[in-house]
Amino acid sequence: MRLLRRQSRQDPQPSDEGDSPVIELRGVGLTYPGPPPVEALHPCDLTVRRGEFITVVGPSGSGKSTFLNVAGLLDSPTSGRYLLDGIDTAALPDRERTALRGRRIGFVFQSFHLLPHRSALENVALAMLYTGIPRAQRLVRARAALDQVGLGHRTGAVPGRLSGGERQRVAIARALVGRPSLLLCDEPTGNLDSANAASVLGLLDDLHGAGMTVLVITHDPEVARRGHRTVTIRDGRLHP
């Protein structure tokens, strides 16, 4: 993992707004139109600075995934302003939002979301498919990312042949290969046993140590303690 740290430090953060917060929420809320309308996220304020490791905890149905979708630009808030890397996302047309999402945010999902018939290498390289990097370079970088997460020997394996922990590490490699400003993880250990969960959390610790901004959503207080700072969410209300 020393390799990981060195390499990540060498990589400059893609953002040029070095001093601006990665996430800045001002009165951001989301109400699902329904019917009936569901106020899944009450208007809230939150600032996440560069290099922070922040965890969001809350019981099931409290609005954690909703919050992540807003933070990850997968869903637009129905109120408030959201600035990502200092860019006001509300004003952006879909083209720019998608570009911002693809280039500045890395996602790790609870259910991995790996393509079943593609090798680990192809799955990781997929993260750069839409960024205009030539294919050969995509593969080189994907291989390096798999090395970082300790899966350099399993690049050719399809997800079906990998353990749960290995799959999640492939997903993390995919999330970090594009060198995002922000790593968003929704229940990254939810589907893993304790040993695999520990290895995945260790990996996230390492990434944070290397300077990555990490936001982990969990319902597990044990996992939540890993973060610098923990935000609690209950019934759609954020409690910093």
Partner: protein, 411 residues
């Protein structure tokens, strides 16, 4: 805080090469399904190629049969007896000279099959002796008629106007009949008996391009035949005319008048058939029907691709969500599914084209035809498959673009 200009982030994109690679990978996910999906297009495009190929082939066969020879042949029938039972023979004695005045005629002459009684045989010896060639017809043909048959002379010569006028006892026979009669050379001036009458074999022809059945007949000068066996039976004689190219219809119009200015209605000229009518008559109805069937196959193929692609879009909602999270725009997702369905269509089109061509070649082998497939057909058929796939993919691709990423990732 003022918003950073949107240009701070470069838009995402999907290169054509990457879209193709993703489409191929998507097809290889389920190769069996891809093959089954393409099957409808295979059948549709295959039948298109087969029908168009067979139509072209059959047309070519008709064109082959309907060659220059047929296009320059006019025959005139003697229908005088039907018009007036006291009319006598329809053709005048100087028929050939009269036809020489008509423009556009190359050769023309009267010919008829001589009616002989059953005891009169053709053979190397007089009737009743030796081994006659039974069933051999004797045909009275003026020199012009013989020329109009387009003979290929093997030995000797054809009889001419001089022989005709002199009522000479000469014949021309086909090589087949000559072999049957044991005549191998004309150097010995072999004789041929029709009944008790001896004839000199003037020439042996290897081939007759018109009326090749007369290769097994004995050709006798018209005047000689008339002198020996009398005039032809009413309606038995006809005039065979070899015209210049393109003159046949005009000649057919003029010939009865030239031959019988007093009673042109006694003669009926038969012009060659119109080649266009001949071709369309044979194949138009059939090919229209088969093209309709091929079109139905293609529509079924398109529905098959549309269905499979739509199922794939629904099945792969999670994948769509993931791609959106990775920076794919709606149109990139559309392009991927559209490329996939187009590739399926093109695959079906290519396989269908090969199968269609193989069908045409197979039929031609059996029927001993020359396969003819228009190059446009071969080029357009795989394209048809591609377009079918593209059209079929439109709706699923539109659906894929509308998948909400947050929604899709919840699965």
């Amino acid at each position: 805080m003022s918003a950073t200009p949107p240009s701070a982030v470069a838009p995402t994109r999907l290169s054509v090469r990457d879209a193709l690679a993703e489409a191929v990978a998507g097809m290889l996910r389920r190769p069996g399904r891809a093959v089954l999906t393409a099957l409808g297009t295979v059948l549709g495009v295959g039948s298109f190629v087969a029908v168009l190929g067979l139509t072209a082939t059959i047309s070519a066969q008709i064109d082959g049969r309907f060659n220059v020879l047929t296009a320059t042949e006019v025959s005139v029938e003697d229908v005088a007896a039907q018009q007036n039972e006291f009319a006598g023979p329809g053709f005048p004695a100087d028929a050939e000279q009269r036809l020489r005045a008509v423009a556009g005629i190359e050769h023309a002459g009267v010919l008829w099959t001589v009616r002989l009684d059953s005891r009169t045989t053709v053979g190397p010896l007089p009737s009743g002796a030796g081994d006659p060639a039974t069933g051999t017809a004797v045909v009275a043909a003026s020199p012009g008629a013989v020329a109009a048959l387009v003979p290929t002379l093997q030995q000797g010569r054809l009889y001419d106007d001089f022989a005709e006028r002199g009522h000479e006892r000469v014949v021309v026979i086909g090589s087949g009949l000559a072999a049957r009669l044991g005549i191998t050379t004309l150097a010995t001036r072999p004789a041929l008996y029709i009944g008790q009458e001896p004839f000199t074999v003037a020439g042996i022809v290897a081939d007759l391009e018109r009326r090749p059945e007369h290769l097994m007949s004995v050709l006798v000068p018209r005047a000689t035949a008339e002198q020996l066996w009398g005039p032809p039976a009413p309606g038995a004689a006809s005039v065979l005319i070899a015209t210049e190219l393109g003159a046949a219809r005009q000649v057919a119009d003029l010939a009865p008048l030239a031959l019988r200015p007093d009673h042109p209605e006694y003669l009926k000229a038969v012009p060659p058939p119109d080649p266009r009518m001949l071709r369309s008559g044979v194949t138009a109805d059939l090919s229209a029907l088969f093209l309709l069937l091929a079109g139905i196959c293609l529509v079924i193929g398109a529905v098959g691709i549309a269905n499979t692609t739509l199922v794939a879009v629904l099945e792969r909602t999670g994948e769509i969500g993931l791609r959106r999270a990775l920076g794919a725009r709606g149109r990139h997702v559309s392009a991927q599914f559209l490329t996939e369905s187009a590739a399926l269509g093109a695959l079906g089109g290519l396989v269908g084209t090969s199968l269609g061509e193989m069908t045409v070649v197979g039929v031609c082998l059996v029927r001993d035809w020359t396969p003819v497939i228009h190059p446009v057909t071969v080029a357009a058929a795989p394209l048809t498959g591609l377009v079918t796939g593209l059209l079929a993919g439109l709706y699923p691709a539109w659906r894929a673009a509308r998948v909400e990423p947050a929604e899709a990732l919840r699965r």
